[in-house]
């Protein structure tokens, strides 16, 4: 039975979910004034505010007529910024490849050469098809954000300690905004660097107040933002660049929760890099035969690291001796994953699969490196069609992304089309056994789809879920003090 069947009908078309109270999601008409009263935080229209903000600052640029660089210049630029793979990428997929007639004939050999160079660079065991993709397509293919290429917002990250968030936009600017005590948003800072292109991931350092890592096409940028400084624009002086040959595009980064280590992954590199950022040094953790890494998730207790591969393989690393457990023969590649706050349960989903898998690790204090005692169970979220006033709607289906709040009480799940406009909210309990209980569906503005889900860490008085849609950020207050309800029929427990 699909767990989706236990859900009530989602809000009707034209209604927007505002918050959760007493285990019920409240939705109001878009034009209803109560919607604004109940919402603790305003909506942020990133497309209008942030994109315009960054453009308006470039007043000097507006005085000049834009022109495109010549083919030679573009190639030289690609060579200096990204090296051999960059130049091949430019020949194979660059704009002038379509414009210049002669270039069309060499773009195909260039694609093959790019494939071969990436294969040789990282000693891949097999010729994986994704190695022939351009850098942009690679990120778009493996990012959990389905609108990475077309949407305005590419990445979003809450600050782990203060009410502040970073948001990476399509124009390669990263904006940092803080929430005022009255709930209003304030423009804080804008980060821009010439290497900051194709931002695939951003992450705040947990044991710090002001360090933000940005995964870019050719490198990882470490921004040091002085909290006491009043500067609104930060440029190259506040940044540190981490590069490693063959490690591009960087698609995912994760900070160790209890140390200053940073890990980075690239789908073209068989190694995961563990960086000592201050030392500007890294250790590659090389494992062959899985075609690189698609994304990384560090468990909140810092003991395990999950790394998904572009092929149907994922690995779980223990962080003492850095050995890994390899999970193979999956039905598809891993699509999304999240850890429980205690680091004992991992939820993951596969691409185009209508199931959430849970993996439970037994704690063994005598041997922290043991990863063998694991249990796996599955939660079905297969698609269900419902008749509503506005017509037939589809709920559930293949999972796009998941987010678990830091209290371990709420789980948000977004789906692929045609259910992309709904986000399912589950109540979770980790006390004795892992329980997952449906609460309801969140709906955004009409025809808006959810692209990024993120819970604010350490939110007092419940959980604060942020949903990024194509252009707008909604701040949903999900209050975790729910009434006790009898959910025995739909409670999915871990098989012991």
């Amino acid at each position: 039975m699909s767990l989706i069947e236990a859900f009530c009908n989602p809000p009707s078309y034209g209604f927007v979910t505002v918050c959760e109270k007493n285990a019920q999601l409240l939705a109001f008409d878009v034009l209803d004034s109560r919607a604004k009263e109940l919402a603790l935080f305003p909506e942020l229209n990133a497309a209008v505010e942030l994109m315009r903000a960054s453009w308006s600052k470039e007043s000097a640029r507006a005085a000049f007529v834009e022109h495109s660089d010549s083919a030679r210049k573009q190639l030289l630029k690609a060579w200096f910024e990204h090296g051999l793979t960059g130049i091949l990428d430019e020949i194979a997929y660059g704009q002038f490849a379509e414009q210049t007639p002669g270039m069309r004939f060499i773009s195909h050999p260039a694609r093959f050469a790019l494939w071969f160079v990436r294969w040789i660079n990282s000693m891949h065991g097999f010729l994986f098809p994704h190695l022939a993709l351009s850098n942009g397509d690679l990120i778009s293919e493996f990012s959990t954000n389905p609108m990475w290429k077309d949407g305005f917002v590419r990445c979003f990250a809450w600050h782990p300690h203060v009410p502040e968030f970073a948001i990476a936009m399509k124009d390669d600017f990263v904006h940092i905004r803080s929430l005022e005590s009255n709930g209003s948003l304030a423009v804080e800072r804008t980060l821009k660097h010439k290497l900051q292109k194709g931002v695939a991931d951003i992450a705040w350092k947990p044991l710090s107040s002001s360090i933000l890592a940005v995964a870019c096409q050719s490198c990882v940028l470490i921004w040091k933002i002085d909290p006491l400084s009043m500067a609104t624009h930060l440029w190259s002086s506040a940044v540190q660049t981490l590069t490693h040959p063959g490690h591009c595009p960087v698609i995912s980064i994760a900070w160790c929760p209890d140390e200053g280590l940073l890990v980075s992954a690239s789908p073209t590199d068989t190694s995961i890099l563990v960086w000592n950022v201050a030392m500007d040094d890294c250790v590659p953790l090389k494992r062959f035969g899985s075609g690189g890494s698609a994304f990384l998730k560090w468990s909140p207790d810092g003991s395990k690291l999950f790394s998904a591969c572009p092929s149907s393989v994922f690995r779980i690393w223990e962080c003492v001796n850095w050995t890994c457990q390899k999970w193979t023969k999956l039905l598809a590649r891993c699509q999304s994953a999240c850890w429980s706050p205690d680091g004992k349960i991992l939820l993951f989903t596969l691409h185009d699969e209508e199931v959430i898998y849970s993996l439970t690790f037994q704690s063994d204090s005598s041997n922290p490196t043991a990863l063998t005692k694991t249990q796996i169970s599955a939660i079905k979220v297969s698609a269900v069609n419902r008749d509503t006033e506005t017509g037939l709607i589809s709920l559930g289906g293949p999972v796009q992304d998941m987010a678990w709040d830091s209290n371990g009480e709420r789980l948000a799940v977004s789906f692929m089309d045609p259910s992309a406009q709904f986000v399912a909210i589950f109540q979770t309990s980790l006390e004795t056994i892992f329980e997952i209980i449906p609460i309801g569906f969140i709906r955004g503005r009409p025809d808006e789809t959810a692209t990024i889900l993120s819970f604010r860490p350490k939110f007092v008085g419940g959980s604060l879920l942020t949903i990024v849609s194509l252009a707008v950020l909604y701040f949903e207050i999900v209050v975790s003090r729910a009434l006790h309800l009898n959910f025995e029929n739909v409670c999915y427990e871990n098989s012991v």
Partner: protein, 574 residues
């Protein structure tokens, strides 16, 4: 302390032995692989496989591999004693020059030159395509033989590569044992580094060949003459069809096959020499578990807190610090032993021992940084002078150089001795005067005056040790929030926080005075990075405690200044 030394020696012995054995095994495998790849013919696969199997039974192959192994073992035995866990930083320019030109280094370069030449010679005997021996039989005359210039060229190139490796060993700081960022198992560390090492050797050998070509071209004639004089050989090129033009001409040197052979042998020599470095460092940097609580009284010396203060063996002390940091992060069981109390009297002996040891070291380090910040030239401070004045010593101040900053120098003399031995005193005075005149000369001052940047580097050369201590302490404190059932950590928490905050303050001041320039001071760049890592570690440690204890920290007694600094951390504004 004897027990600790014995323990350390036995540990070091087996690590060295294991590293040596694995180095030799890898050298044998690599030599075989190179030979097999070289003899492989894609058009005759079966024949190639038979040929490869034949190599395994070939006596010449094994005798030469044995030769390479002997050379490799000699290098291993003679060089491993020069490995250090931290840089030695000389105080002034004179010592810096002396350090770079020390006999040990010269010996090391000569040793590597000889070994590089020998390894190349053995290798060319195995491959044997271009060159077979250093002398060739001249055609038509059995008794006469000529110098094989090509072989000489390749062997000399091997010597050059060896010498270059030996020189770069100290200059590039390869003799410093860097501990890895994460503690992987030995197998994966070696496996992960072998291929990059091979690529580095290949590119290094290629890049350095141009220097060798220049050297060989200009000293070619003398080299050949020297060979001729040693062997008493005639130089007869025309009689041998293989050698058309001599290597003292540009056209002779521009032979592709010769360049390839030289590059290939150079890469082999460089790789084989680098293997010693790789394996030795991998084994030495493996973590070692020290007991926290002695099972018996006589084993008291082998405990972790004793190893933490063992200054005689820095490697041992480093391993102890690493162990503390590892156990604090990963081992709940061992943390429980630290937080336990003694059965008689309920004293937290283990925690007290470890915490006090760490705090004393960190406090001393803070004091050193503060003293250095106050007076970077290494002269005694005014406060110090006043102390000495109280002890009845005569102190004179003199300004050394006009235009220079006010540097204080002092001279002490015993008042009683002055009265009883006037003649000796006058002689002394003249000597001091002359020495001061010499010292004041600008050229001499440049060489012998203490350089503040070098003194600063010396101060931070052992930073890795403190990084582990800080990280270990902070993890222990954070873990105590849930694991410390007897509250043993609580009493020490104010001291720990005070040390961390003082250290951060001192570091901030130091980094403002001496901003880090990584490209400066080649060979010591690592120390500059360590300064930054140290600062980040202290910040992380304070944040870790602040995040774990949160509001409980307000009840901890701290000085007003430190409370203010801690408040910045609580507000996440540091």
């Amino acid at each position: 302390m004897t027990n600790l030394r014995e323990l350390f020696d036995s540990e070091k012995r087996w690590r060295s032995a294991a590293a040596a054995v694995w180095t030799l095994l890898l050298v044998i495998s690599f030599t075989f692989a190179v030979t097999a790849v070289g003899s492989f013919d894609p058009f005759d696969v079966l024949g190639s496989i038979a040929g490869i199997l034949f190599i395994l039974t070939d006596r010449t192959f094994w005798s030469n591999v044995f030769g390479i192994c002997v050379v490799e073992f000699i290098i291993f035995r003679l060089t491993t004693r020069y490995y250090k866990v931290c840089h030695y930083v000389p105080r002034n320019q004179l010592r810096l020059i002396a350090y770079h030109l020390s006999p040990v280094r010269i010996f090391y370069i000569i040793l590597h030159m000889i070994c590089g030449g020998l390894i190349t010679w053995f290798m060319t005997r195995i491959t044997g395509n271009l060159v077979v021996s250093l002398v060739l039989d001249a055609t038509g005359n059995i008794n006469a033989s000529v110098v094989n210039e090509q072989h000489t060229f390749i062997v000399l190139h091997g010597m050059f590569v060896g010498g270059f490796y030996g020189a770069a060993f100290f200059l590039a700081g390869r003799h410093i044992i860097h501990f890895p960022i994460v503690q992987q198992t030995r197998f994966f560390r070696v496996k992960g580094q072998l291929f990059p090492l091979l690529l580095t050797s290949a590119s290094r050998s290629f890049r350095n060949m141009k220097y060798f070509y220049i050297i060989y071209y200009f000293f070619c004639a003398s080299t050949v003459q020297w060979w001729l004089s040693v062997y008493g050989l005639p130089q007869d090129r025309n009689s041998n069809s293989d050698i058309t033009s001599g290597l003292d001409t540009i056209s002779g040197l521009l032979s592709l096959s010769l360049a390839f052979s030289a590059w290939f042998c150079g890469m082999f020599v460089d790789f084989v020499l680098s293997l010693v470095n790789l394996l030795y460092i991998v084994y030495e940097t493996q973590s070692f578990e020290f007991p926290i609580e002695p099972a018996f009284e006589h084993l008291q010396d082998m405990c972790l807190h004793r190893a933490l203060i063992c200054n005689e063996h820095l490697l041992l002390q480093y391993l102890a610090c690493l162990d503390l940091s590892q156990l604090a992060k990963h081992s709940r069981e061992r943390r429980m032993v630290i937080f336990s109390v003694s059965p008689l009297g309920g004293h937290p002996l283990n925690w007290t021992n470890i915490a006090s040891t760490c705090l004393v070291q960190l406090k001393d380090f803070v004091d050193e940084i503060v003293a250095f910040n106050d007076c970077p030239t290494g002269q005694k401070t005014v406060g110090h002078l006043v102390d000495q004045q109280k002890q009845g010593q005569v102190i004179s101040r003199s300004f050394l150089r006009p235009g220079a900053t006010h540097e204080l120098s002092y001279r002490t003399a015993d008042v009683c001795a002055q009265q009883t031995q006037p003649q000796i005193d006058s002689a002394k005075r003249i000597f001091v005067k002359i020495s001061e005149i010499v010292k004041n000369h600008s050229v001499v001052t440049y060489f012998i005056a203490n350089r503040p940047e070098l003194l600063g580097l010396q101060l931070f050369s052992q930073s890795q040790k403190y990084i582990w201590l800080i990280s270990g302490l902070s993890h222990l404190v954070a873990a105590s929030y849930t694991e410390d059932t007897y509250g043993v950590v609580q009493q020490t928490l104010p001291d720990i926080l005070t040390v961390f905050l003082n250290l951060l303050e001192a570091l901030n001041r130091h980094l403002k005075q001496f901003p880090v320039r990584k490209r400066n001071q080649s060979g010591f760049a690592n120390i500059h990075s360590l300064k930054l890592v140290l600062k980040e570690t202290v910040k992380e440690a304070i944040y870790k405690i602040v995040i774990t204890f949160d509001t409980h920290l307000s009840s901890i007694p701290l000085s007003a200044e430190n409370t203010r600094r801690l408040q910045m951390f609580k507000e996440f504004k540091e």
